[in-house]
Amino acid sequence: MSLEQFKNRNVGTQNYKKLDLSHSPSSGWGEFKQVVSRTFKPELFVGLWVTLREMGNALLGGKMHTTQYPFEKLPISPRYRAIHEMLRLMESGNYRCIGCGLCEKICISNCISMETRYDENQRKEVSKYTINFGRCIFCGYCAEVCPELAIVHGQRYETASEQRASFSLFEDMLTPIDKLNLQQEYQGFGAISPNADDNIKKTPLAY
């Protein structure tokens, strides 16, 4: 194959549409005509109309874009990996974690530390469980490996705090017992966001 052929990237059939760009005028008379036509074209007023229409849309048509962030929040994707949550069993209200230690083992940044012991019923109980969020990289392995769906990633993405201990104790991550009925089951890693339908736009299939 010769180099010429190799360089030719126009394979297939293209159907480009050339924009109708007018040529810049060459004579003085042409420039004058351009000035006159631009002066009396209503383009500037089209711009004014568009801004006014959008103002009407925003004020009367309810098309305001602003989300007043600390007070209003947009829903985030269930795939988002924010601060962890420890879930409870719906029936008994007990925490789901069985103290198997898989999450501690798989954690690639070694930031989960836990201690377990037997309680009086010879049942394994978690006596200490912390995640060091200074080291956690939010990879999600702990949630993936957990056999009981006990540790999951929640939706708390606002992690500015005076000390990271305010997120990382077992009690902080555990669903509060009185909010048990509000506990959300983890959708899984392939879940779509709740407002996914609104975000779908029509795009052409063929390009």
């Binding site: 000035v35 500037l44 711009g47 004014l48 568009v50 801004t51 006014l52 959008e54 103002m55 849309n57 925003a58 004020l59 098309k63 305001m64 874009h65 602003t66 007043q68």
Partner: protein, 336 residues
């Protein structure tokens, strides 16, 4: 016009009016910044300031506190005296210009029965005085830019000179035609000329458009905001300014916007004459408010021009148009 009961111009009355104008216009000019942010936000489908006070109304106070308490920095190599005086020039000339424009029809204060001519001083060269004062206001940016030992400031003041040289001719020539028709330079005469007849804009549409364009350049508003266009010259002449001095530039700019609104209303749009069922004071407030809104509207809609485009526009398009307009007006006046 026979002089019947011309009210006495007392020193006390003038002082009271001056203080009132200063206080009210300064307040409105400050409030204008809030209005501007709100209107621009709505036009971009945003909410604008919302958190300080109901609908962000107290944002103004928060900004004021911020401006007052900011450290006043004077750069090391700046010419300190000129640097300090320049903002005062802008603010002061803007308010001095307002002394000679009539805002309301003359009225009588109820109960005490005092007749008040609402113009602070009806000088017979009112229109020249106002335009001259607003032109002198440009010394503020010019000196500020040169005094601050900063390249952006220098560019800003160079652009001030360009702008000044461009629009000032157009302002003068465009307003010459109405002056020829009225035969006076006093704003009160302008207003009275339109009492019975049509508005001046009907006779002089070209002059009106030219004056509005030049007014945008004069107040340094968006299609012609060359002096401090952030995207190009940081903040132009105001680069080194902070705190209260910077605030004075802004008060001056907004006061100038109001002045241009008043001049356009009185000279071209029928002034404070009654219109249909609306009383004069309402009409002029509505007109000034609309012209203020129009300036914000244009800012939201139109891009701004380059300095060379401004000079091209003013010298090659607007000035010939203004001259032709003056000549045609003269010929028509001779024949009729």
């Amino acid at each position: 016009m026979e002089t019947t009961i011309l009210p006495e111009v007392t020193a006390l009355g003038v002082i009271i009016k001056a203080i009132l104008i200063l206080a009210i216009i300064a307040a409105i000019a400050g409030f204008g910044t809030f209005i501007e942010r709100k209107i621009l936000a709505f036009m971009q489908r945003r909410l604008g300031p919302m958190y300080v006070g109901p609908y962000g109304l107290l944002q103004l106070i928060a900004d004021g506190i911020k401006l007052f308490t900011k450290e006043d920095i004077i750069p090391q190599h700046a010419n300190k005296v000129i640097f300090a005086v320049a903002p005062a020039i802008t603010a002061a000339t803007a308010f001095i210009a307002l002394a000679a424009v009539p805002v309301f029809p003359d009225f009588t204060i109820p109960f005490v029965d005092i007749y008040v001519p609402s113009i602070a001083s009806d000088i017979n060269v009112g229109i020249l005085f106002v335009l001259g004062m607003m032109a002198a206001g440009l010394y503020g940016p010019l000196l500020a830019g040169m005094a601050q030992a900063n390249k952006w400031g220098i560019i800003g003041s160079a652009r001030t000179a360009i702008q000044f040289l461009s629009y000032e001719v157009v302002t003068g020539l465009s307003i010459l035609a109405p002056i020829m028709m009225v035969g006076s330079l006093s704003f009160v005469d302008f207003n009275d000329y339109q009492t019975d007849g049509l508005w001046m804009v009907v006779y002089q549409p070209v002059a009106f458009v030219l004056f509005i364009i030049a007014g945008f350049a004069e107040t340094n508003r968006t299609p012609f905001d060359l002096l401090e266009h952030e995207a190009e010259v940081i903040s132009g002449y105001a680069t080194e300014y902070s705190g209260l001095r910077w605030g004075m530039f802004f008060i001056g700019e907004y006061a100038n916007m109001i002045t241009i609104g008043v001049v356009a209303s009185v000279v071209f749009l029928g002034g404070y004459n009654d219109f249909w069922i609306f009383p004069g004071w309402f009409m002029i407030v509505a007109k000034i408010a609309f012209s203020f809104f129009f300036m914000l509207w244009v800012r939201a809609a139109w891009p701004h021009v380059r300095p060379d485009q401004l000079m091209w526009l003013c010298w090659k398009v607007l000035m010939p148009l203004a001259v032709v307009n003056v000549i045609i007006t003269g010929i028509v006046m001779m024949l009729v």
